[in-house]
């Protein structure tokens, strides 16, 4: 379906390779829907990769898409709590990974964008992200830089003056559709029927995931694939709990401001209270107050901190939050708008540990290697993933088992 992810090869000492190959479907993932009006081509993907990494698309020349979706950090900016844009300005939300984002039905934590193409334009003009006043500077670059001129001519058959943001966004989206990743130990265990692929503890954790933990109701697993998301929005008591005493005043005030023309994209990233309204800020729907998109759990272990606001440091913190029934500390007040699926789980300490062990089996081999590399920064001669480092890209279509295990 796609050539290797060049970005990843370029930035990491250890060269690790593609999440997806042209033909092979990564184990555990469904076929990817490609929009009819934006077919994948190798040239377009390469162009998208270049655009994704171009810092000229920010007001200071220092921030690209890859700044917050860093291929070396599983396409996040871990360990930052919330993303840092131009001039070290911080937004209100934790950068979600681009990995497997192509499978989402809606984009951004609150789903305010309908597809990858649309999503790509917004951070460029958000004042706390890439900070441009409008998209003109982007178009100036792609219409004059000879490499871009040539690439847009090849890919879209457009002369410089004809290139618009539509083509820029399509190329970025095409690139992002190559960043898909399955083949985790869990995939080999569950879909590959390899009973030794994950530990006994992780297997117990999987049982808790399916049953007592109620996780699977939102982090969905199908018979033949698992995206670990229901593509829906839920109030799980994160973020909203901080502003719950003010919702009565603030939610109507936000709607008023929105009706008066306030840009939702800018408001939710610059105003922490607006941010915590979640999907309500997009839909105005009362039963979506404080609701955020169910994230995929794939590769979750390599991109702490967690949740839309990065407020939970470890996976154990996350599981405990759910175990408490939507409150981080047992003494906290449960927010009035909590989703009906969230309730105390009465998990034991062991069950919580099992669940965390299970979550750690959802890491694809290349990101497990990355994590290992990051844990050993002075030298890039990491032993564990050396098979991957040395492997030709084609080999990575079916990852080498020993390299894929958690260290």
């Amino acid at each position: 379906m796609a050539p290797p992810i060049h970005t990843m090869l370029a930035v990491a000492c250890i060269g690790f390779g593609a999440a997806a190959s042209i033909h092979a479907q990564p184990l555990g993932l469904p076929p990817l829907h490609i929009p009819a009006d934006n077919p994948q081509t190798p040239e377009k993907i390469k162009l998208g990769d270049k655009l994704f990494n171009d810092k000229r698309f920010s007001s200071t020349g220092t921030v690209s898409c890859a700044t917050c979706h860093d291929p070396a950090k599983a396409f996040t900016d871990s360990p930052l709590v919330t993303s840092e844009g131009i001039n070290k300005l911080t937004g209100t939300r934790n950068a979600p990974t681009v990995i497997n984002a192509a499978y989402f039905a809606l984009f951004f934590w609150d789903g305010r964008s309908a597809d990858l193409e649309d999503q790509a334009q917004h951070p460029i003009v958000n004042p706390v992200e890439m900070g441009l006043a409008n998209h003109e500077p982007v178009l100036n670059v792609v219409r004059t830089d000879p490499e871009y001129v040539s690439a847009f001519r090849t890919v879209f058959k457009k002369e410089p003056a004809q290139v618009t943001m539509k083509e820029v966004q399509q190329a970025i989206a095409s690139f992002e559709r190559t960043i898909i990743s399955g083949d985790s130990p869990f995939d080999r265990f569950y879909f590959g029927k390899d009973k030794t692929a994950i530990s006994a503890q992780a297997q117990r954790g999987f049982d808790t995931f399916l049953n007592k933990g109620r996780c699977v109701s939102c982090h969905v697993i199908e018979n033949d694939q698992a995206l670990f998301t229901d593509n829906r929005f839920h109030n799980i008591g994160v973020g909203i709990n901080r502003i719950q005493n003010e919702v009565g005043q603030f939610a109507p005030a936000f709607l008023k401001a929105k009706a008066a023309g306030v840009d939702v994209d800018k408001a939710v990233l610059s105003n922490p209270k607006a941010s915590e309204l979640g999907r309500f800020a997009v839909t105005d729907s009362l039963d979506e107050i404080g609701s955020f998109k169910t994230s995929t759990l794939r590769n979750v272990a390599v991109s702490p901190p967690f949740m839309h606001d990065g407020s939970l440091k470890t996976l154990r913190d996350v599981v405990e939050h759910y175990n408490n029934g939507g409150i981080t500390n047992k003494a906290d007040h449960v927010n009035d708008f909590l989703s009906g699926g969230i309730r105390p789980l009465n998990l034991t300490d062991d069950e919580i540990s099992d669940l965390v062990a299970f979550l750690e089996t959802l890491t694809s081999p290349q990101f497990a290697a990355q994590k290992a590399a990051m844990a050993n920064p002075p030298s890039c001669n990491v032993k564990t993933p050396s098979l991957i480092a040395a492997a030709p890209r084609s080999m990575l279509q079916s990852p080498v088992e020993s390299s894929a295990r958690q260290p």
């Binding site: 109620r214 109701s217 919702v247 009565g248 939610a251 109507p252 709607l255 008023k256 401001a257 929105k258 009706a259 008066a260 839909t283 105005d284 729907s285 009362l286 039963d287 107050i289 029934g325 449960v334 009035d336 708008f337 909590l338 989703s339 009906g340 699926g341 309730r343 105390p344």
Partner: protein, 361 residues
Amino acid sequence: MTQSSDKPIDRRQFIKTASMTLAGSALPLTMVELAFAKPADNFSFAYISDSHIQQIKGASFVRNWDRGLIRAVAETNLLTPRPDFIMYGGDLAQMGSKPELDHGAEILSKLNGKMYAVMGEHDYYLDLGEYWSKLFGKQYYSFDHKGVHFVVLNSILTYDDWTFNKWPSAERRMAEMAGLDNPNGSPFMVGDKQRQWLQKDLAKVKKDTPIVVFSHSPLQKIYKGWNFWTEDAEQVQALLAPFDKVTVFYGHVHQIQYNQIGNIAFTSAMATAWPWPYPQTYAQAQQLLPKLTVQMNRADPFFERDATGWQFIDIATGRASVNFNLYNNATRTVAFDAQEGHPKDIAYQPEDRRIPPQTHY
């Protein structure tokens, strides 16, 4: 009124319209003004019902039922423009006890605005409404609001012999009345005393004044085994018959129902606690269901709030448009259709818009 069926107005639009209005003009234009011809007659109120607050032990209550009421109250408080008042439709408690009624009243106390209450059988049959009355006042009464005459009835009374002579204890009486398909149960009724009062009350009201009646049980006969039933429904209907525009709202059934009998439009309220499936009569085939074994027919058991909700109601020129706020589901609106002369669901009339029932295996 016909405009409303051409252009369904959902809750989201209601809030949007309201907020746009707030931003755009000093004079609040309400959603109803956009929809209907005589703005001066229009107002809205919220309607919450059937929370079934249930004590487990001491200060421990069933969390699910608590959360349903808490959420309905919090969301009602966000309605903009503010509803003129909030009606609570009965069955605040499960077994009618003081702790349950107190706990429910505490949650309801967070409501911003004037609240009225209707007696439900779960509030009544332990102490025959004594403590409920201390908290909420009269069990039947009427009031006038912006040209509409509102009547609240206690429709869950039954035969004196059943109430006073049949049971060894108040707890047993409450438990028997709480059962479904219970041969020991007894049909609900408004009773002679209240009907006499109603006759007197309505005698003062002009026939073209819109009447809105609240009862806990339906003032129509639907299914006796679950007391979707009021024994003297026809007699109450007869008292309402002389009026041009009558609307009856009821709780108890935990599902959306609407009907028209003569001049009376009926609409039910959703429960905040749990949904009921349709009773056997609605299956239109023999089911041989000895007792209720499948609690939730269509609801998603993971999302405890699924198939529950609350409603806000616009009264426009004396006719009601009921907006059901349903968690995890699309909002539904049941509005009176003046041309057809009865209430109807705005969205789900065409066959192809309907959602077929699930099959149980």
